[in-house]
Subunit: 527 residues, 2 copies
């Protein structure tokens, strides 16, 4: 028999009931709230890509006056890599390597002319599988904005044969099929030179020359549009920044704000865009199922003219395979999967992104299609679960020549690059900083002037000596052991290369793109 | 009339009573716990001082492979400075500047012989007021361990005239009156050379040569003893590390552990000692009334022999007044007063520590004694409350010659220093890395070989161009405005200097200290 509950018991029971209701409600809220935001089998993947952004261009990588921005935030809330390299110190080859996971020497994106020009008839060959194509294969919606630089046209100045929509991108927003650089600054250069400065939407020129004051904002609008539209799909998005290069431009709200000058303004605008995208992912509650990676294509242009970025502690810069040219800032952000504030010394290459991302997306494409991929699967390293990656040897190329290698902690330089600052100082002061001068280009890029083969390769322990200032004694056991092993690896690597035509050295048979010949000036963005 | 409370009301009342009791207890606990740990008028002050530790020798300052340690922790929990400089790139002058707040040219701690040697008859003059003396004046107990390098003896090889106990330190534990360096490594050098390697306790030699495997541990034991003994006083403690220099030593538990090699081991052992001190302050519950500052005396020895530290993005290193020689890592930690994770770009000098610390300690000594102090009061900057410090011009000296200046964002180089790496490369490979070779010393330190006066001084905006790679055009308005102003400041500065004798160039009339002539080997630490 149940006795009638006393008033005391009643109060306690009511209190309990309220507690239980609240607990259930709170639990349900979190379960429901997290339901569409847990880490699924196929997370979204966003690659953010800086252009010639130096290792030390961010506060988190040691720049003394650069302001804190989105890249620092990614590092604080995610993982920062300190030994991430790219196989080439030039834009087109680096971008081909990222897109395919293969050395540029295999894809044809190498050559004496260094990078694709606007009138080139070459580009990333269609026989190559891009990361976008491989991800589409497992159901991803793919999109991009920003710099491409893997070819534009093949047979005419309008066929768009090499544009991103022909390389696996479902959505192509505002893009720079070529690049953004110093000559696109209307304060310094004339309209004729501006013909190389144009933006497309998908396969159509919409602005020529480029309006530098609205460029970044337009990219962000497109990126946010794509992400918002595809928030329920697994998507792949490639945000390829026009920053930082040596363009020296920024939207009005960033211009003149950085302690570091105009270069700093550009870094901050790029960082701010990254911040906006992170905020959007959080607002859409999809941040836990989105992996974001930021990295630079290669090292900074560092030439004594004061316009370029900072290689930090490293020697050399863009175009050289000293660490200054090939070591890049790289951070990854994936709330709930990557712990905040991790610093990883793992040896990672941009080549690894292709196979790593495919594994994360659950694709067996590489095996199924029997692709020859140079990158390694590094998903545990990206997630910060493993600090050492692999025992492979990495190779670094300049214009199709194997100039350096990395094996474990060792950097092996088969060639030595002259300091760009020294080369520049030999030039007449009045033309030194004129980026259109062929004298400057010849001096800086002439391979004979610039590199010298080392009969006895220089070997550095770059974990001890990141400056590459103190080579190992070539008579030491350590040297002999390393060179013997690396020589074998180089031979095996060389033997694996099937000769392909250089795409970069293909003739410049096309006119540069032009929206309304012969003027080549237009702005359809305003209409 | 009061009705008898119902059982329900009773339960509620009891619950309330319990709640109130718990609240009061918790509040009391916190009030009592914080009572002896609030920020008082006279906080303890600890200066931690690295020896030739480079700007980029820590993860937080951008080193790619250095492990996270106590300095990174201080930065994470406190404030990190990115534009902190020292007026000289050599040990004795830098240390004199820190101790007195005055340019070495005023104190006599400058000279063609660069730094004090063990047989020198000079030292920091007693007419100078040290930070320890000034803090004693307002009731602080003062103590130190570690490297001194401001003179040992004057009239004999045993008078200890210039030792720290004669410069205001109540407690002097294990000290290196001279320095720790590469020649103290018994694996490389012989016993005769070891005569310059000795440690004292207060005014007595206790070990000759130095036992490198126990050195750091002994310093930490002494430091912790001093702090523990004086936990209820306001105290000033100077922990002057023998690290990092180019000594390449470490205690067994650190040796061989760093990815960065032996230099990294040293950095980690120093960082670990800092960590221990921070933990001790927390354990003693005095961290909220203790300001800890870590900084380096000057830039790293960076010579192509691979033993030295990293200047990061900066040009040059120790001995030069390029930023690599004078820009130092500097972090401050004061829980409850300094917010965690602040990065400050304020322009700060090691000269500022003297007047700043005196202000924080509530001293009017400078005014009362009418001292000529070059440093500025920067307490709000140290606390992270103000980002810009002052509009003064900073001067940088090499061997008594004013070689550079800093004004706002500008660095003005009246002299240009040759690259030490270049100088070293001209030397025969077999002797290049022998620190005892007079050929090496002459080549590296010979002022004519090393510096060249610039008829048109080089001016860099070092907030934009920290590498000092792109000087301002000397015909520009900006250049002319800056040089005009700085020339005036230099004149005023020069006019304010009263000629004093060089202490460093005083004759080497003493024998080097010796514990038991003629052997000069002993180890009283073991007895």
């Amino acid at each position: 028999m149940l006795s009638k509950p006393s008033t005391g018991s009643f109060v306690i029971m009511v209190t309990f009931a309220i507690c239980i209701c609240v607990s259930v409600a709170v639990s349900l809220y979190f379960i429901l709230a997290n339901n569409d935001n847990e880490s699924p089998e196929q997370p979204n993947i966003i690659i953010m890509y800086g252009d010639d952004t130096g290792y030390a261009d961010f506060q988190t990588y040691g720049h003394p006056t650069q302001e804190w921005n989105g890249v620092d935030r990614m590092s604080q809330e995610g993982i920062k890599f300190t030994q991430w390299s790219t196989p080439s110190a030039l834009c087109s080859p680096s971008r081909a390597a990222l897109s395919t996971g293969r050395y540029p020497i295999r894809t044809g994106v190498f050559g004496r002319k260094r990078v694709f020009q606007t009138s080139s008839s070459g580009g990333l060959p269609h026989r190559e599988v891009t990361i976008a194509e491989a991800l589409k294969d497992v159901g991803y919606i793919t999109g991009m904005v920003g710099k491409w630089h893997l070819g534009i046209n093949k047979n005419s100045s309008t066929d768009g044969y090499y544009l991103p929509h022909n390389h696996g991108f479902d959505y192509v927003g505002t893009i720079l099929p070529h690049t953004q650089n110093a000559i696109c600054n209307p304060e310094k250069y004339n309209v004729r030179q501006m013909r190389n400065c144009f933006i497309y939407r998908n396969d159509t020129i919409v602005q020529q020359p480029t309006d530098l004051t609205t460029l970044t904002k337009n990219l962000v609008v497109d990126a946010k549009h794509f992400i918002n539209t595809n928030k329920n799909n697994p998507f792949f998005f490639f945000f390829s920044f026009p920053q930082t290069h040596t363009a020296l431009f920024a939207s009005p709200e960033f211009l003149g704000k950085s302690k570091r000058g105009q270069y700093g303004d550009m870094v901050n605008e790029m960082g701010s865009s990254i911040n906006e995208i992170m905020d959007q992912l959080i607002d859409l509650k999809i941040e836990k199922r989105t992996l974001v990676i930021f990295l630079s294509d290669n090292g900074p242009k560092f030439d004594g003219c004061g316009d370029g970025g900072s290689p930090g502690v490293f020697r050399g810069g863009k175009t050289t395979t000293w660490e200054g040219g090939i070591r890049v800032p790289a951070v990854a952000w994936w709330p709930g999967t990557i712990k905040p504030g991790v610093v990883s010394n793992a040896v990672v290459s941009s080549l690894d992104i292709f196979p790593t991302v495919l594994k994360i997306a659950g694709s067996n494409y590489i095996k199924r299609r029997n692709l020859t991929i140079d990158g390694q699967v590094n998903d545990e390293v990206i997630k910060g679960l493993k600090s050492k990656s692999y025992d492979e040897t990495l190779f670094f190329y300049y214009n199709g020549v194997l100039t350096s290698a990395r094996h474990q902690q060792y950097k092996i330089n088969f060639y030595k690059f002259r300091s760009i600052v020294d080369i520049m100082e030999e030039l007449d002061e009045t033309i030194r900083c004129d980026y259109t001068s062929s004298i400057v280009k010849d001096a800086v890029f002439d391979i004979e002037n610039k590199v010298s083969k080392q009969d006895t390769p220089l070997i550095y322990d770059i974990e001890k000596d990141p400056q590459e200032s103190s080579p190992l004694d070539s008579e030491s056991k350590e040297y002999k052991r390393v060179i013997k092993l690396v020589d074998k690896r180089v031979q095996a690597h060389n033997a694996s290369i099937l000769a392909v035509e250089s795409e970069i050295d293909k003739p410049y048979t096309n006119d540069a793109p032009c929206c309304n010949p012969p003027l080549c000036t237009c702005n359809y963005n305003e209409e």
